[in-house]
C-alpha cells in the first residue's frame, strides 16, 4: 500500500533537508554491516600510542630476546 502522496512528499522533503545538512541516510542489511560502518568511523586516539610507547620503554625486553648466559658465550 503506497503512503498517501502528502506523506511521501513530506518524507522526500525531510530527506532532502538532511542531505543539505550534510547528513545522509544509510541502509544496512545486517547489524554487523552497521557495526562495520560504525567501526570505520572510529579511530584510535593518538594518546594511546603515546602512552603505550612510554610504558613499553620502561618494560624489560620480552623473554624471547633474553639469552641464557651460556648462549651468550657461544
Amino acid at each position: 500500500m503506497n503512503p498517501p502522496s502528502s506523506q511521501l512528499r513530506q518524507q522526500t522533503a525531510t530527506e532532502q533537508v538532511h542531505a543539505t545538512q550534510g547528513e545522509s541516510v544509510r541502509e544496512f542489511a545486517t547489524p554487523e554491516e552497521l557495526l562495520r560502518h560504525d567501526r570505520a568511523s572510529i579511530a584510535v586516539p593518538e594518546a594511546v600510542a603515546e602512552r603505550l610507547g612510554e610504558t613499553l620503554a620502561a618494560e624489560p625486553p620480552p623473554a624471547s630476546e633474553k639469552k641464557p648466559w651460556w648462549k651468550r658465550l657461544l
Binding site: E23, V25, T30, E33, S41, I42, A49, L52, P62
Partner: protein, 202 residues
C-alpha cells in the same frame, strides 16, 4: 633501519587539541614517542579493531583507551608465549575479551554504571520497514552503544566479533568456547535482538 632504531606507528608528536592554541616557539617540540620496532607492526595492524571492541564492550571512550593500552602491554609481555598456533588478531581479541570482562565484573561489584544516553535521536523521515535504515548523525554511535548495552553479554560479544570480517565462525567459536554451528545459531538470535533494540533507540 639499525637494530637500535625505532619507528613510531604514526610519528606521534604532541599536538594541541584546540586549534586556537599555539605551541610556544621557545620550547622545542617533544620527540615522538615510539614503540619497539618489532611491536609497531602489531600495534598498527590491530589497535583499531581492539580499541573498537573495547569501546563497544565498555561503553566509555576513556575506559576503552585504558583497556587498549593494557591489552597491548599484556601482549608485549606475553609475546614469547604466543606460539603462532592462532592468528594474532584472535589472540589479541582473547586478551581484550578477558580484560573487558574482568573490568565489567569489577564495575558491577562496585556498582559502577556507564552513563545512559537519553538524547532524543533524529528520526529518518517517514516510517521505515527496516530498523537498520539510519540517518548518519553523530548520535548514531550512541544509538549503537545503547542498543548493544541492552543485549545479553554473549550476544553483544558475538555481534562485535562477527563485525570483524577477518574472523571466521570457527575463530569466533574458539574465542567464545563453542562450536561454529553454535555461533551461527546464536548470531541469528543476536541479530534479531539487536535490530529490535536498535529500532527502539529511534
Amino acid at each position: 633501519m639499525t637494530p637500535t632504531a625505532r619507528c613510531g606507528p604514526t610519528g606521534v608528536t604532541t599536538m594541541a587539541d584546540d586549534p586556537a592554541e599555539t605551541v610556544s616557539a621557545e620550547a622545542p617540540p617533544a620527540p615522538p614517542v615510539t614503540l619497539p620496532a618489532d611491536f609497531t607492526a602489531i600495534y598498527e595492524a590491530h589497535s583499531q579493531p581492539i580499541f573498537y571492541l573495547a569501546l563497544r564492550l565498555l561503553g566509555d571512550p576513556t575506559a576503552a583507551q585504558d583497556a587498549t593500552h593494557d591489552v597491548f602491554v599484556k601482549a608485549y609481555r606475553k609475546l614469547d608465549e604466543f606460539r603462532g598456533d592462532a592468528e594474532i588478531r584472535t589472540w589479541l581479541y582473547r586478551i581484550t575479551l578477558n580484560h573487558c570482562s574482568n573490568l565489567r565484573q569489577s564495575w558491577s561489584a562496585r556498582n559502577i554504571h556507564t552513563a545512559d544516553d537519553e538524547t532524543v535521536f533524529d528520526r529518518v523521515g517517514g516510517a521505515s520497514e527496516n530498523p537498520l535504515r539510519v540517518l548518519e548523525t553523530k548520535e548514531l554511535g550512541q544509538r549503537i552503544q545503547t542498543a548493544l548495552g541492552t543485549l545479553p553479554d554473549e550476544y553483544r560479544v558475538l555481534l562485535l566479533l562477527v563485525a570483524d570480517e577477518e574472523l571466521s565462525y570457527e575463530q569466533i567459536g574458539q574465542l567464545t568456547q563453542q562450536t561454529a554451528d553454535a555461533v551461527r545459531g546464536k548470531l541469528h538470535r543476536a541479530r534479531r535482538t539487536f535490530t529490535a533494540a536498535f529500532a527502539k533507540t529511534a
